[in-house]
Every structure is written in C-alpha cells, then in structure tokens.
C-alpha cells in the first residue's frame, strides 16, 4: 500500500511537471512585450520601489523570460519547489498571501454546496433506483438532466433575476452588504452568510445532477446483483434489503468519488465566484487570467493540477480502503 502510494505520488509529480510545462509554454507565448508593459506599469505606480529597468530585469529573471522556454521553465520549477512563487502582478502582494486571503472563502462555499449535494442527491438517487421506471424515477432523471445541462451563468442569472431583482431578498453580487462595517461581529457573519446563499445554491444545483445520476446508476447495479436477489429470496424485509445490503454496497463507488472530489473543494468555483463577485480563489484567478498576471496564474494552475492529481490518488486509495475485495498493486 505504502509502496503503491509512493509510486503514484512520484508518477503524479511527473505528470504535473509536464502539465505545468504546457501551461508555461502557453504563458511564455503571451503577446510580446507583455513583461515590458507590465514592468513599465509597475515602475510608474505610485510608491514604486523599483525603476522600470529594475522591474524588467526582475521580472525577466523571475520567470526566466530572458532564457529559452526550457531553461526558463526549469528556473520556474526550481523556484516553485522552494516555495518561491513570486509576487502577483495584479494583486501586488506575494502570490501565497493572495492565496491565503482567498482560498478559505472558496473552501467554505465549496463545503456548503458539497454537503447540500450529498444530503439532497444521494437520497433522491436511491429513491429513483428503487422505483425504476416510476414517475419518481422519470422526474429525478429529468431534473438531474436539467441540472447537468444548465449553464452556470444562466442559472446564476436566473437566480439573481428572481431573488435579487424581483424579490429583492439578496444583493446582486459581492460578499458584504452596504452597512457591513457598522455591524457587530455576529451581524457581519450573518451578512456574509446571506451573500453566500445564491452562490451556494448555484453550485449545488450545477453539481447535484451528476451525483444523482451516479447514485441511481450504482444503486440500480447493486439492486440487480445476485446477492440482493438472494436476500430477497430468503425473505429479508425490503427495508433491510435496501438499507443494509444494497445501500452499503452503493456506498463503495460513492465514497471513492466523493473522497476524490474533496481536494477540489479548495479549487474554487471559477464561474460562480466571478458571477457573484465572491472574493474566493476562483474569482481572484479569473481576474488574474484576464489581466495576464503570470505568477498568480502559474500558481493557481499548478494548485488545481495538484488538486486533480491528489483527487485521483485519493479516490484510488479510498477504493482499496472501502472495498476489501480490491488489492492495490
């Protein structure tokens, strides 16, 4: 197990190396003169501590722009491995600091919708599977399909239109109300929580469909398996068949997928956060991307690539943990 894990980690590191290389090449080929413009802008900012040529030198050295693509990339990797991710161009603070400022909002938002998803989708999926081809089943299938097919921006716009414009219950966007500063600390908490309602609903609805379908599919498979038939044949009460025999086995794929998606809670919701102006990592990275903030983009992409690989690893490991039949080798 340990050997397998170590092997997988090493293997993931190699994949990450190449993934980041592709992204670096993309970044390297940003429209020419970009570093120069940025350096000029940074140098002419009020309170700039470095001159244009110093900035230019600094930026070029930092990202290895003066070297070729490959040596430049190796420089970046060397710095990144040592934890030196540089200063963000658009946020003008170290990349890691901006990361700390934003990632927790994303995590909270992700966690809320993750819990909501599980609470709503799994029972619905199981119910649909139990009553296959019933009205409930069709209804669940159609609803989950609508959720899957709904573009995030359209759902967010509809929610804003109904709840912010027509009903006026929530603010259109942002994380804080108008008189946030005058509130007590509990009031501040409630205010932020209120602003998280619509984004959380959006994220939940977008993700709920997939989980619902997945649960239903797996439950159906389990219900069609021989041991369920055996259990029913020997007269086990239906309740017990479902809750004890079937549900436990459905949990195996569910736990592995959900466990695998745990790291992505930190990845932030790019579109949702941007649309609702939640200052999470997704929003920060979106504005960095549109402004060409190379250090932050490189950091963010490395971060989400690591999260993806970690998720895959976690899901494989969990599979072995949950299902005793699986032996990792």
């Amino acid at each position: 197990m340990l050997k397998y894990t170590l092997k997988r980690i090493l293997y993931s590191a190699i994949i990450l190396f190449f993934v980041m290389f592709i992204i670096y090449v993309l970044m390297y080929n940003m429209p020419s003169g970009y570093v120069e413009t940025k350096a000029r802008e940074l140098a002419s900012r009020p309170g700039a501590t470095k001159s244009y040529s110093e900035w230019l030198q600094d930026l070029n050295a930092q990202y290895g722009m003066d070297k070729g693509v490959v040596p430049g990339y190796l420089t970046w990797v060397k710095n990144a491995v040592r934890g030196n991710w540089g200063d963000s161009w658009s946020w003008t603070i170290p990349v890691t600091e901006e990361f700390h400022n934003t990632v927790w909002y994303s995590f909270i938002l992700g966690l809320i919708s993750f819990i909501l998803e599980i609470v709503i989708a799994i029972p619905l999926g199981i119910t649909a599977a139990r009553k296959q081809y019933s009205f409930t089943d069709y209804f669940t299938t159609v609803v989950s399909m609508i959720c899957i097919s709904m573009p995030t921006f359209f759902l967010a716009t509809i929610l804003k239109y109904v709840f912010s414009v027509k009903l006026g219950w929530f603010d259109l966007s942002g994380m804080q109300g108008r008189n946030y500063m005058n509130l007590s600390s509990f009031g501040k908490f409630l205010d932020v929580a209120k602003h998280f309602v619509l984004p959380a609903i959006t994220l939940t609805v977008i993700n709920i469909g997939g989980l619902m379908r997945y649960t239903r599919t797996n439950m159906l498979e389990v219900l069609n398996s021989d041991y369920i038939r055996t259990a029913r044949a020997k007269g086990v009460p239906e309740k017990k068949v479902i809750n004890y025999h079937a549900f436990r086995n459905t949990l195996i794929p569910l736990v592995t997928t959900l466990g695998g998606s745990l790291p992505s809670l930190f990845a932030g919701a790019l579109i949702t956060e941007t649309l609702f102006s939640i200052r999470g990592i997704g929003y920060a990275s979106y504005s960095s991307m549109t402004q060409g903030d190379i250090p932050f983009i490189m950091f963010y992409l490395a971060f989400i690539s690591i999260l993806t690989l970690l998720g895959n690893l976690l899901s494989d490991l969990l599979y072995a943990v949950v299902d005793p039949r699986v032996r990792l080798s």
Binding site: I22, F154, I297
Partner: protein
C-alpha cells in the same frame, strides 16, 4: 454461404406455405431484425430519447433552415421613429455688433474695427451719439443711427486745440550735471527751481505759478519734467470768437461736439483732457448692427453687401435700397425693434430681429415663422419677467438618413409638439421639445415584427438566436469531431500495439486529462483579446483548442475497448487469417468501438456547447458581431440590462439548456439502445 439472408429465406418459405397452420415453434414465427433496426426500435421505445431527438431536429431546422425563411439577417440594424426630448434650438440676443462694409474704397484701420464693439458699448452706456477716434491721418467717426445700428465713417480731422488738463513735456533735468535741458522755448526760472526741488523718484513742484511734475527719465539720474496746464493749448491759429466759451460749455455738458463761428468742432476725450478737432466730410465706411437677418426662405443666405445696403437704408429711417440689381425696401415695425425687408413686389423677404434663433447644433435650418414665433414668445416672457414658457409649434420629422422627411410635394412632414423655452443665461434661451427622430431601435420589446425584440445594437434577437444556434451547434460538432478523430487514432494505436507505444500515449493522455480546460480557455481568450484577433480566427482557434484538450477521454475509452476486444475470438481469427493491420483496426476493431464512441460524442456535444456558451458569455470566446447563444446573453449581462431585458436572455438561456438536455437524452437513449444491459 456468403450471402445467406434469413429474412429472404423466411419470405421464400412463407410464399410456399401460405395458409398452412404454423406450429408454435415454427421458425417462420421468428422475425429477425438487422442490428441497426434493433437499435432503432429500442431507441424509439425510450420516451426521453425520442423527446431529445425531436427537439434536436427542431433545433437544427430552427438554426439552419430558419434563417432561410426569416426575413432578417444577424447583423441587420433596425430603426424606428422615436419621440425624444431634445435641445431643439437656441435663441440668443446678439450682444456683439457685426460690421458690414458699405464702401470698399475706404480702408478701415484694424485697430478701429477691433475696438468697435467696446466703443459702441461705451457710447451706449454714456449715452453719446457720436464718437471720434483720431488716427494718424484723419480719423474715424462712430455714429449711432438707431440703438441697433451704428455707422463708422472715415473723416478728415484737423486738431484745433487741446483742452482741459494737459501735460506738456518741458525738458529733462540731469542730477549728475545738475543741469536742465529745455525742450522748445526756455522757461525762465524753471532750471533753478528744478535744481532746487527735484529729489527722490517723482514728485511735483511749482515755479512761476505753474505746476510741474517730474518723473524718472530714460537715462539714469535724469528726470523728465512736465508742465501741468489747465486750459487750452492751441495747435495753430486760434479760432477766436466764442470758441473757448462754447468749448467750456460743451466740456461741462459732456457733449461730443459743438458749433461756433459757423464751424463745427468735435471733442475727443482722453481722461481729464480732450482734443478738439474740426471735422471734415464724413464718408460711411462700415455699418454695424446687433440685429440678425432672418430670411423668409429657410436657411437662405444673404451677401454682406445686401445687409450693408439694407442697414444703411434703415439708418436713414427706412426706404428703398438696391442690392444685386434688385430693389428692396426696408421698414421698421411698430415697436421699431424689428426691421422688415420686402422685395420690389412688396412680398416679405426677411426681417432684422433682436434674436438669433438657430438649431441647437448651430445650423440655420429653422422655419422663418417658427423663428418669429419663438422670438415673439421670448419678448412676451421678457415683458412678463418669467423665465419659462411654452409654445405649440410644428416641426419636421426626420427620416432614415437623419434628414427631414418630405411628402410628395416636397413639403416637410410636420408633427405638432410643445416647445419649452427656458432662459439659461441673460439673453440666452434654450428651446426643448419632443422631436420624432429616426433612431436605431434598441431594446425594443417583443412585437409582431420582432418576436423576441431587438438587442442593444438594434439587431433582431430572433435572427441572432438562429444564426447563433448555427455557430453554437457548429462549434459543438467541429470540436467533437476533432476530439473523436484524435482520440480514435491515439487510442487505437495505443490499444492495438500496446507496449511502449501504449505507455507513451497513455502518459500523454494522463497529462492532457490533468490540464485544467476552463482556465486555459480563459487565458487563451484574453490573449486573443490582447492581440485583437479577428472574430472568425478566434472561433477557429477556440474550436481547435477545445478539440485538442478533449481527445484524452476518447483515447482512454477507445484503448480500453480495444484492449478487451483484442482478446476476443474474432480478433484472434483476423490475425490467424492474416488480414492486414489496417483492415484489422478499421474493419474489425473500430466498428465494434463505434457504438460507445457515438454515445460519448453525443454526450460530449452538449458539454462543448456549454463550454462555448460560457466562454462567449464571459466575452472570451466568440466576439460580438458574430452571434452565438453565449454572446447574446453576454450583451445583456450587466445588472441593469439583465433586469430590464429578460425577454432577451431567458429564451436564449432556455435554448442552450434545451439543446444540452436533448443531446444528453439522445446519448442516453443510444447507449441503452446499443447495449440494454449496460449501466444506466
């Protein structure tokens, strides 16, 4: 054996066994369906899949055939007549006097013409009727003919005397030599007095009953000494008689001229002193007025000499004048403010009025009667001392080009409106009214002409939705084709050959699988923004990038399928019979992977359409003039537009949803139809 068709065989048997009783296990009771018929039959049994298929067919017809029958294009801009409250006109009371040459032979000094307005103002405030400006040769005479008309004439001036307090330089005193150099005649006793009393920088002293002043001279330590005289200093011969008495009286009264001894004199004042001239014959060189000539013909232009001749005639109290070989007459109206010009036949030609009424843009395109009405209303307002007034007037409507519409007789098409006149400054009035303009029809609500209304650029939304559907669907198909093409080749090679090839390709698949697609597309989009790329080029690059990033999944699927198929007996048979590698892959392996591929591709289409619309919504995909469903929603994504123009974005958003749902239903249905035992 080669072409044994069970269905044909059954038909043959049926024809021979007509009418015979069939036993239960008779083989002719078995109806054999071809595999594709079987799939089709299973597919149409699935209600959701049929719904999806019908929706897709409808969407394709809508997007690809719809524009053929729909009258509008995607970039066709619509206009409408709209009532807008505009600053229609500006009425200004002229305060500046404009000059017109009446006699070109007299050259007027530019110094005189530039100071004309200030001189006229001074005359108006002093209440003098004449003003003389001495020049180098002769001089100039400004005469007020009426309070609105002034003439400027060239006159011969001969200086007779200086009167009042006058200062004459008498000499220069030098501190160094303590000597006095007189200018002109020496004045006895002055040199001594100067030596005694000149101290400091300036001052005055008296000597012999005359006051002298001194001031620093041109050279250092020298002083200019001036004699202060209060009286009359004659230039040449004294006119004698009552001249001094008359002059004194005129000066006291502040008159600008007087007559004595059969001669007339004019006084030109300069501070406390004045010069007296005899005036020769005056020749009118220019005529100045603050009136504006409005002709009855709208926007008619009149040469400057016409105005000059008319004003001269008016200065003489009205009468006939000629200009350009035609005879006109000018008459004052009852109040005397307005001068009416008539042509020879007595028809009104124009009027000189107090106000210059122009369109707000400064163009002189307004109707004569309207100008008159506005000027009249302003006078009324002035009399009543109010600052706002309203007026009913007819104004022309505008047509497509922004010019005025005319009917078949060439007359303006008028519509009645209420004009609001508001005083903005002293003597300046703004006239507002509702004007019917021909404007771009933006954000029109749904109507029979535009079922979904128009957007912010005046485009018909329904037309754009149709064309946008074309692009969105096309993007989906192209991307899925690229994905599938690359995926089948890479996956096929990996699965078929195995070994290090498989290993290499699968590692590439791992890498591409890990690439975060949305961020990379956003970065690409903003890069293309920075390069200001053409929207069609962007579209192609976007499709290529999406295709490149999506192949890994297909490759993984194909490889997995091939790995399992490779071990099956029929593949072993192909190898044993020595079929070529190419044929083995493409004739035997690929068709077996096809069902799975079709299902994945169908599901993938929905995903690509979602990605494309999200990118376009963010403004990083397809760009504005080209319509896609994402850009249409993007055009009304701002908070206020979103709130007001729900009739634009809701149908389009639902359409995106419907398309993706339809693709997913069809994909699901196909999967179930191909392999009923597979996972649902």
């Amino acid at each position: 054996m080669a072409s044994y068709d069970l269905n044909e065989e059954l038909k043959k048997r049926k024809s021979t066994q007509t009418g015979a009783e069939k036993s239960l296990d008779d083989v002719s009771r078995v109806k054999v369906l071809s595999p594709s018929r079987k799939v089709f039959k299973r597919f149409i049994r699935n209600r959701l899949a049929v719904f999806g298929a019908v929706t897709l067919i409808a969407l394709f017809l809508f997007s690809f055939a719809g524009p053929l029958f729909y009258p509008y294009g995607q970039k066709e801009i619509f206009y409408t007549f709209s009532k807008q409250n505009v600053n229609y006109a500006l009425a200004k009371k002229n305060t500046a006097f404009n000059g017109y040459d009446t006699d070109d032979s007299i050259e007027v000094d530019t110094l005189v013409t530039t100071s004309m307005n200030s001189n006229i103002k001074k005359m108006l405030s002093d209440g003098t009727e004449e003003m003389t400006i001495p020049g180098d040769e002769g001089g100039w005479l400004i005469r007020m003919e009426t309070p609105d008309i002034f003439t400027l004439s060239g006159v011969d001036l001969e200086k007779v005397a200086d009167a009042g307090e006058s200062t004459v330089k008498v000499g220069t005193y030098s501190m160094i030599g303590k000597e006095f150099t007189a200018e002109g005649d020496e004045i006895p006793g002055l040199a001594e007095a100067a030596a005694d009393q000149i101290k400091g920088t300036s001052g005055s002293f008296e000597a012999g009953g005359v006051t002298y002043t001194f001031d620093k001279g041109a050279k250092p330590k020298t002083f200019d000494v001036f004699a202060q005289a209060d009286g009359i200093i004659y230039e040449g011969k004294e006119p004698g008689g009552d001249f001094e008495k008359e002059l004194g009286r005129a000066m006291e009264e502040g008159a600008s001229s007087f007559e004595t001894g059969g001669k007339s004199y004019v006084i030109s004042k300069k501070g406390a002193s004045a010069s007296v001239y005899t005036v020769g014959e005056a020749k009118t060189a220019m005529v100045y007025t603050d009136l504006t000539l409005d002709t009855v013909k709208t926007g008619g232009s009149v040469p400057a000499d016409f105005k000059a001749a008319a004003l001269l005639a008016a200065a003489e109290g009205g009468g006939e004048f000629t200009s350009g070989g035609e005879t006109y007459s000018i008459l004052p109206d009852e109040d005397g403010d307005i001068l009416m010009v008539q042509d020879a036949s007595g028809e009104p030609f124009g009027e000189f009025g107090q106000y210059s009424v122009r369109r707000y843009s400064g163009e002189d395109t307004m109707d004569f009667d309207l100008k008159q009405a506005i000027a009249g209303k302003i006078d009324e307002m002035m009399d009543e001392g109010i600052q706002n007034g309203t007026l009913q007037a007819m104004i022309p409507t505008q047509n497509e080009d922004g010019s005025y519409s005319r009917d078949e007789n060439g007359d303006f098409i008028l519509n009645e409106t209420e004009m609001k006149i508001t005083q903005r400054l002293e003597g300046e009035y703004v006239i507002n009214c509702d004007q019917i303009n021909y404007v771009i029809d933006i954000y029109a609500p749904p109507s029979a002409k535009h079922p979904l209304g128009t957007d912010g650029d005046g485009f018909d939304v329904l037309a754009r939705v149709m064309y946008g559907g074309r692009v969105s669907l096309m993007v989906g198909f192209v991307v899925v084709f690229i994905e599938t093409f690359l995926g089948v080749i890479m996956g096929g090679i990996a699965g078929f050959f195995g070994g290090w090839v498989d290993n290499l390709i699968m590692r590439m698949v791992d890498i591409f699988y890990c690439l975060p697609m949305m961020p990379i597309m956003i970065i690409l989009g903003s890069m293309m923004d920075a390069l200001r790329m053409d929207t069609y080029v962007r579209l192609i690059i976007m499709m290529a990038a999406l295709g490149l990033m999506g192949w890994a999944g297909v490759a993984r699927l194909v490889r997995g399928q091939i790995l399992s198929l490779r071990e099956q007996e029929f593949m072993v048979a192909t190898e044993a019979t020595g079929i070529k590698v190419r044929a083995r892959i493409f004739r035997h392996l690929v068709p077996n992977v096809l069902p799975q591929l079709i299902v994945t591709a169908t599901m993938g289409l929905g995903g690509v359409i979602l990605t494309e619309s999200t990118l376009s919504f963010l403004g990083l995909g397809v760009k504005h003039p080209l319509a896609t469903w994402g850009t249409i929603i993007n055009s009304v994504s701002s908070a206020s537009a979103m709130a007001h123009y729900a009739h634009i974005w809701i149908p389009v958003g639902l359409l995106i949803c419907l398309t993706v749902i339809a693709f997913n239903f069809v994909g699901d249905g196909l999967r179930d139809a191909y392999d009923p035992k597979s996972k649902r």
